[in-house]
């Protein structure tokens, strides 16, 4: 474990959903910290609340109680509009199903979040091309998502996630829709982003092999954070 300052502080977080008149509790009194530059894996069975927790950390859902501080900001106090601005500047998203805009080319997909910044058209294109270069897809810039393999689409999604240089990267089952080889490539890439660029990554997965690539592993069971422990592999053995 490093002694870097905490980038995320979660305190007494509760979340429940309504299904008609029924209130279904999802998260109970979640409290934990994530240090800057950490690579955290959240594991747990289906319905354990891991995606809900990730959504709360990423500011795309709102908690019932508790607080989440990211950097110096308490995002639980934000309005929807403030959260949208915050997400645009501080969070990079990697989804299970890549979630690229089908009518945009690879480079345009990567450029998309930059439209919310003050960068010029030329700067946006340069940043997008650089990000695609970092994921090894500089030769596929003008391809539409349907012309790319699953692994390539996920690499485009990673490029889109990092192009704004966000504070945290959140990944929801990033290898869930990929074959083993592609999954390994994506995990290696995430490790590299964490190790070489110091990106803080929070990854939800049910795949133990994916979880092993993280530095920290946490388990959720029925909405409770059960344990705190290290990831399945030693940093010193990381080939990256």
């Amino acid at each position: 474990m490093t002694n870097l300052p905490n980038i995320v502080e979660v305190r007494h977080l509760y979340k429940s959903y309504r299904r008609g008149s029924l209130v279904v509790p999802v998260l109970h009194d979640i409290t934990f910290d994530i240090a800057a530059g950490e690579f955290l894996a959240l594991m747990g069975p289906s319905g354990s609340g891991k995606t809900t927790l990730l959504n709360l950390l990423a500011g795309i859902d709102k908690a019932d109680e508790g607080s989440i501080r990211v950097g110096d900001l308490d995002i639980t106090a934000f309005s929807e509009t403030e959260l949208a601005h915050w997400r645009a500047n501080h969070v990079g998203f990697i989804f299970q199903f890549y979630n690229l805009i089908p009518v945009l080319k690879a480079v345009e997909n990567v450029e998309l979040p930059l439209h919310l910044t003050s960068l010029s058209k030329r700067e946006r294109r340069e940043h997008a091309e650089t990000a695609l270069g970092m994921v090894g897809l500089d030769h596929r810039m003008d391809h539409y998502p349907k012309e790319l393999s699953g692994g390539e689409q996920q690499r485009v999604a990673i490029a889109r996630a990092i192009v704004t240089d966000p504070t945290i990267l959140v990944a929801d089952e990033p290898t869930g829709d990929l074959d083993r080889v592609s999954a390994e490539e994506i995990l290696a890439m995430m490790e590299r982003l964490n190790a070489e660029m110091g990106k803080t990554i929070i990854m939800v997965t049910h795949d133990p092999r994916a979880a092993q690539r993280a530095k920290i592993l946490r388990h959720l069971e029925k909405g409770y954070l059960n344990d705190t422990g290290k990831g399945g592999h030693d940093d010193s053995q990381n080939p990256l």
Partner: protein, 385 residues
């Protein structure tokens, strides 16, 4: 810029659906445009009416006549520049389906009161000099292939018998709004012929046309004329040509209202079709919108995307329909020239087309936009995969 790029690409992403929707809108706009043009044509006579012309008819009904002797009494009123008169002849050319308006008029004064009927000096002279002569509008002559000097026979309905006329002139309209499908012949020819068979029907006119010196005197002259013949055997009703023509339109008001309603029903139907298309589109793209919201795009961007896409589709259909309206209106106008002598797609109709398309585009986007904005990001993302 990217929002525009996305909305344009989204609009044509599902090519078949977009093409069919655009085709539907184009046909609807075409139908709407033609129906509006029919209504405009209906009112063409009203629009073309001069403010300085009055029509005097029998106060009881247009089907009752007035004595010819009123001519001089009307002419004596202050503000009256010229008086002409005529009768609706109602003759049939070969067959009843060959309908066109035909009148007998006092030719010299009538042509002066109607300067919009442009007749060459030689043709005018020939017409005025031949008691059996007639003039026809350019479209009417073209339709039946009449040439100067041709003899045309009309079968009388109000005035029985076969009536032979010689074409002495073909008038052109001064502008596009002038009716070029009319048939005019000498009132004297009718009067002299009818007096031989039925003397009691002689020296009777169906209407007087009065040209006033200034349009602002029209109301005053109309009142004075009617006052003159008050308590006579044939009281008069004098009104502006516009009011007179409007009176005719009012008789067919129910038809006009029905056409108007059909034109709006067409728009409502196509609105439902576009709304359905947009609802399907939005449902398919709810994940895309969730991703955009996740990345930080706001409700305004999503609204722009959905409204923009809807407007791109409806306006493409609208402009296609508008382009098709012109040849369709030309063909329609040619086929029904005698019923709709002035069948022109007016700028107002085109503005209404665009207005209807914008209205359809916006209304069709309202509910899908509301759904896309209201759905939570997490819910939207769950729909992917």
């Amino acid at each position: 810029m990217t929002i525009l790029k996305i909305l344009f690409r989204n609009a044509f992403h599902n090519k078949l659906r977009s093409a069919l929707t655009i085709l539907g809108i184009a046909v609807a706009i075409l139908a709407f445009g033609l129906l509006r043009t029919v209504i405009s044509s209906w009112y063409a006579g009203v629009e073309a009416a001069s403010a300085s012309r009055l029509v005097t008819r029998n106060a009881i009904s247009i089907i009752f006549t007035l004595p010819l002797s009123y001519t001089e009494k009307i002419r004596q009123h202050e503000g009256v520049k010229m008086v002409s008169y005529g009768n609706w002849f109602g003759g049939i050319y070969i067959d009843e389906k060959n309908f066109f308006p035909n009148f007998c008029v006092e030719p010299r004064t009538y042509l002066e009161i109607y300067p919009e009927f442009v007749l060459g000096p030689a043709e005018k002279k020939a017409f005025l000099g031949d008691r059996k002569g007639f003039v026809a509008g350019r479209k009417l002559a073209a339709k039946y292939g009449w040439k100067l000097g041709d003899t045309v026979t009309l079968k009388g309905t109000i005035y029985p018998g076969n009536w032979d006329f010689v074409l002495r002139g073909i008038y052109k309209g001064r502008d596009d709004t002038t009716d070029e499908t009319q048939f005019y012949f000498h009132w004297d020819y009718l009067n002299e012929t009818i007096k031989k068979a039925s003397p009691q029907r002689g020296d009777q006119v169906g209407f007087y046309m009065i040209a006033v010196t200034r349009p602002d005197l029209a109301a005053e002259v109309a009142l004075a004329v009617d006052k003159t013949f008050k308590n006579s055997l044939a009281e008069t009703l004098t009104e502006t040509e516009k009011a007179f023509n409007q009176g005719f339109i009012a008789m067919s008001g129910a038809i006009v209202t029905a056409i108007q309603m059909v034109s709006f029903v067409v728009i409502i139907i196509i609105m439902a079709v576009v709304a359905n298309t947009m609802a399907m589109t939005t449902r398919e793209r709810i994940g895309d919108y969730a991703i955009m919201k996740t990345l930080g795009f706001g409700s305004r961007d999503i609204t722009l995307l959905i409204f923009g896409e809807s407007l791109v589709i409806t306006l493409t259909g609208c402009f296609t329909g508008m382009i098709l309206t012109f040849p369709a209106a030309a063909a329609f106008g040619q086929a029904l020239a005698t019923f709709f002598p002035v069948f022109i797609v007016s700028p107002e109709t085109l503005y209404l087309d665009v207005l209807a398309a914008v209205l359809i585009g916006c209304l069709a986007a309202v509910i899908p936009t509301r759904q896309a904005i209201r759905i939570g990001i997490a819910d939207g993302l769950r729909r992917i995969g």
